[in-house]
C-alpha cells in the first residue's frame, strides 16, 4: 500500500531542499521525486531495518549500550565530543548540554570545513542574505572556490543561476554567473565567466579586487595577479560595483588552502566594501545538511560555534586548541563521543588513527568507518527519513524535517537523554 509524503526535506547538504515527494511502500522508500542524486541516496539507500546497538562488536540491549557509554564518558578525564552536523537541532541541544555536564571538549565538523569562515565572520563581519533574495534580486553571482554542480546539485536551479523570481523573471538571462576556481569543473562549465586563478593566489586576487573597489586601483603596479591579467580583474571589480544585487558564494577552495580564515576575511571585506557602491552579500556553501544548525546551537548554548572546552566549568573558545584534529593529534582525548559524523573517513590519517586508540561512542544511523572502530555503536533513527526534527539551511533558515517512514529506532535525542541521565 503506497503512501505519498509531500514536502519532505532532504538533509544531505546545506541546500536543505524541502520540496521532495517521497513514496513509501510498507516500511521502505520506493520512489523519490525532485531530489538530486545525493538526495536520492539519502532516501533510497536508507535501510530502516532496526539494528541492535553494539559494544565492542557484540550486540547488546539499548540499556546495556547506554550504561557502557555512560561509563566510558564519566570515567574519562578529557572526553572529546565531535560531529553534530548531520543530526537535528533537538539532538544537538542535548549534546551540548551533555558536554557542559561532563566538562568535555566539544567540536563540530565546522572545524574541518567552514571553521575558517566562522573565524572570518568573527574578525570582520559578514554581509549576507537568505536564498530567496538570490532568487528574486540577484543579477550577479560569484561562486568562489566551490563546485555546486558536484556538492550542492540543486542550488543552481532552486536558488541561484537559473532561478526565476520577482526581479529575475527570465532566470539565467537576467543575471551573470562568474565562477572562480583553480581548475575547470562542472560548475565552471555553466558560468558566463570562468575566472581561473593560480592555486594559492585567492588572497592576492581578492585583495586586488578590494583595492579597485576602494578606489585604490591606481596604486597597483603588478600586471597580473594569480595568473589573471590586471585589466581582467579591474573589469570584474567594475562589474561587481555596478550590479544591482550581487551575491558571492564561497567554499572549501578558500577554507582549505593556506591563508584559510585570512583569505575568507578578504572576501568578506570585499563584499562589505562593495556595499558602498551597490548591494552585495555572501553566503557560505555549508556542506552537511545541518552543520549550520550545529553552529547555531553551539552559539546559543555556549557562545561559540565550535572548538569549545567546558573543563573549567564554563565554555572556553579555542580554535586550534580545542578543535578535534588538534586534540587528537596531540593525544589529549581519552574518550570520544561521535555524533552524526564520520571523522575516521574525513580526518587526516594520523588524527583518524588516534580514534582507534581510545574508547569511542558513536551515534549514527548508518555504518561508517568510525562505527567500525568504535567501542559502542548506537544505530539511531535518521532525522528527515525516520524521525522529525529541525535543520538549518546554509542561509540560516530553519525547516522542520518530516518522518517519511515509521520511527522504529530511537533518535539521537533520546539516546543522548538516556546517556546524560546515566552519567548523572
Amino acid at each position: 500500500m503506497a503512501k505519498v509524503v509531500e514536502n519532505a526535506v532532504c538533509t544531505f547538504c546545506g541546500c536543505l531542499c524541502d520540496d521532495i515527494t517521497v513514496e513509501v511502500e510498507g516500511n521502505a522508500v520506493s520512489q523519490v521525486r525532485r531530489t538530486c542524486a545525493n538526495g536520492r541516496g539519502v532516501f533510497m539507500h536508507y535501510d530502516p531495518a532496526p539494528r541492535q546497538p553494539t559494544v565492542r562488536g557484540e550486540e547488546v540491549t539499548w540499556g546495556e549500550a547506554v550504561e557502557e557509554a555512560a561509563t566510558i564518558l564519566s570515567e574519562a578525564h578529557s572526553p572529546l565530543i565531535y560531529g553534530l552536523s548531520s543530526t537535528a537541532s533537538e539532538a544537538q541541544r542535548k549534546c551540548v548540554a551533555l558536554a557542559d555536564y561532563l566538562g568535555a571538549v566539544i567540536d563540530t565538523t565546522s572545524s574541518v570545513c567552514h571553521g575558517p569562515t566562522g573565524l572570518a565572520m568573527q574578525a570582520v563581519g559578514e554581509p549576507t542574505c537568505t536564498l530567496g533574495e538570490v532568487r528574486n534580486r540577484a543579477d550577479l553571482l560569484v561562486f568562489w572556490g566551490c563546485n555546486p554542480a558536484a556538492a550542492h546539485m540543486r542550488h543552481f536551479n532552486r536558488y541561484s543561476v537559473t532561478a526565476r523570481g520577482r526581479l529575475t523573471p527570465n532566470g539565467k538571462r537576467d543575471r551573470t554567473t562568474v565562477v572562480v576556481d583553480v581548475r575547470p569543473t562542472a560548475s565552471t562549465r555553466i558560468a558566463d565567466q570562468f575566472l581561473q586563478v593560480e592555486l594559492g593566489s585567492d588572497f592576492e586576487v581578492l585583495t586586488t579586487l578590494l583595492a579597485f573597489v576602494q578606489g585604490k586601483g591606481d596604486r597597483l603596479t603588478a600586471e597580473e595577479v594569480g595568473g589573471v591579467p590586471m585589466a581582467e580583474l579591474e573589469a570584474l571589480a567594475e562589474h561587481m560595483m555596478s550590479c544591482r544585487f550581487g551575491v558571492a558564494f564561497m567554499g572549501m577552495g578558500l577554507t582549505h588552502t593556506p591563508g584559510q580564515d585570512l583569505t575568507v576575511s578578504e572576501l568578506f571585506k570585499l563584499v562589505a566594501a562593495l556595499n558602498d557602491h551597490t548591494r552585495f552579500s555572501v553566503i557560505p556553501m555549508r556542506g552537511h545538511g545541518n552543520v549550520a544548525g550545529a553552529d547555531q546551537v553551539m552559539s546559543w548554548q555556549c557562545g561559540y560555534p565550535f572548538a569549545v572546552n567546558f573543563a573549567r566549568g564554563y565554555p572556553v573558545y579555542g580554535p586550534g586548541e580545542f578543535t578535534a584534529v588538534d586534540v587528537l593529534a596531540r593525544q589529549e582525548a581519552d574518550a570520544a563521543l561521535i555524533l552524526a559524523s564520520d571523522p575516521v573517513a574525513h580526518f587526516p590519517r594520523r588524527a583518524a588513527d588516534e580514534l582507534g586508540k581510545i574508547p569511542v561512542v558513536v551515534l549514527d544511523p548508518m555504518p561508517s568507518l568510525t562505527t567500525e572502530i568504535a567501542s559502542v555503536v548506537f544505530p539511531t533513527a535518521c532525522y528527515g527519513v525516520e524521525a522529525k526534527g529541525t535543520a538549518y539551511r546554509m542561509d540560516g533558515v530553519p525547516i522542520q524535517l518530516r518522518a517519511v517512514l515509521p520511527t522504529t529506532r530511537p533518535t539521537d535525542e533520546e539516546i543522548l537523554d538516556q546517556i546524560t541521565e546515566a552519567v548523572r
Binding site: G41, H45, A151, V325, A345, P348, R349
Partner: protein, 120 residues
C-alpha cells in the same frame, strides 16, 4: 620518475554516490582511491590511464590509480576520502582546519606497477 605537484582534494559526484552505498563498498573505494592529472604531465612522466602511482607528502603516502583530468599543469586532484587523507597533515595553523588543498606532493612510480608503466 619523481616530480613535485600541488594536490587539491574535493567532493565529486561519484565519491558522494559511494558514500550513500557505504564507505566499505567497492564503489566508494573506486571513487576515492584515484588521482587526476593533466594530460601533458601524464605524458611527461610516462603514465597511462589507470597506471598506479605512489603519492607522498610529509604526512604519509598512498598508492592510487591516475587518470587524465582537466587540470592545469602541476596540479593534481583527488576526491575526499581516506586515501587522500593519508596525505593530509594534522597541522592546522591554529585554525582547526587541516590543509586539504594546495599541498606539495611527490609523485613516484608505484613499486607495484613499475614494469607496466615503462612498457607503455
Amino acid at each position: 620518475m619523481d616530480a613535485t605537484f600541488k594536490l587539491v582534494t574535493g567532493r565529486t559526484r561519484s565519491q558522494a554516490d559511494g558514500l550513500h552505498k557505504g564507505k566499505g563498498t567497492e564503489a566508494y573505494r573506486q571513487a576515492t582511491e584515484r588521482v587526476e592529472m593533466n594530460q601533458g604531465d601524464m605524458g611527461a612522466l610516462g603514465l597511462n590511464e589507470g597506471s598506479t602511482v605512489h603519492l607522498r607528502t610529509d604526512a604519509g603516502s598512498v598508492d592510487v590509480m591516475v587518470y587524465q583530468g582537466e587540470l592545469p599543469s602541476g596540479l593534481l586532484f583527488m576526491p575526499l576520502g581516506p586515501a587522500a587523507n593519508r596525505l593530509i597533515d594534522v597541522e592546522t595553523d591554529a585554525t582547526g582546519t587541516p590543509r586539504y588543498k594546495d599541498l606539495p606532493v611527490i609523485v613516484e612510480r608505484s613499486v607495484r606497477e613499475g614494469e607496466a608503466a615503462s612498457d607503455g
